[in-house]
Assembly symmetry: C2
Homo-oligomer: 147 residues x 2
């Protein structure tokens, strides 16, 4: 036993209620218990095969950011767009691609993408399996401009 | 072929440089190419077995948030602490636990934790394998208070 690990033992003293904190339990097929999945940009007028799940930011949190999970169906893609706000993307499921400016990068689990202000970008799924990723954005942000 | 998927085809027209954007390539053993891994709270004076990788926020980004990957070694834990800023945590590797107030919750891949302001919390790894998670925080935030 590592004697230095003593600080990691469970302290039996209750430390009070955790008001407002919560655990969102992951479920098969990349769903989270009690968290709704919605279509992405339903008003866009064309099929894109993208579903959105808001994990943090839509339930009264005060965070300066929102954490969303996007899943792109086989053959689908997100809007090709640009905007002032930045994206941080971490791939969780399957394989896909990101267009950054004129370059296309292949992506798989764990690959992380930072999209800088006003860089044109699009996420695509050319595979036969779902392509899913976290996308973190500022909670206060400008509207995307389609390209 | 899905005729509606036409909007997802690659447009051969270059759309300019993507200045500042980048892809951080995931590598075996949960490392990211060219991203340093640092010890967590080296000044704490006790072993905790936690390593930190800053994926977004340390390289000139203007995001209102930072995305970090923390990995807790077998037997390790993060500080038991509270603070005004909130945490958004998404488990990527292994299994572990979170203490939220007086409750302990088991965590595995995909499980997502929101830690509300001033809720006492600690992440622990009682298993024999590494326990890793993304932790997203506001870029402007208060200092944690150990409990």
């Amino acid at each position: 036993m590592n004697e230095l690990a003593g600080s990691c033992e469970v302290d039996p003293t209750p430390s009070g209620a955790a008001t407002g904190s919560r655990v969102l339990h992951f479920q098969p097929d990349f769903r989270w218990q009690d968290v709704p999945v919605t279509a992405y940009k339903q008003a866009a007028g064309h099929w894109s095969g993208v579903a959105r799940t808001v994990l943090v930011g839509d339930a009264g949190e005060q965070t300066a950011f929102h954490v969303r999970y996007f899943e792109v169906a086989p053959g689908g893609c997100t809007s090709r767009e640009e905007h002032a706000h930045e994206h941080a993307v971490v791939v969780l499921r399957g394989r896909g691609q990101v267009l950054l400016g004129a370059a296309v990068h292949d992506l798989a689990f764990g690959d992380t993408v930072y999209v800088a202000p006003h860089n044109v970008h699009q996420f695509r799924n050319p595979t036969a399996e779902p392509f899913g990723f976290l996308c973190i954005v500022d909670s206060r942000r400008d509207r995307p401009v389609p390209i």
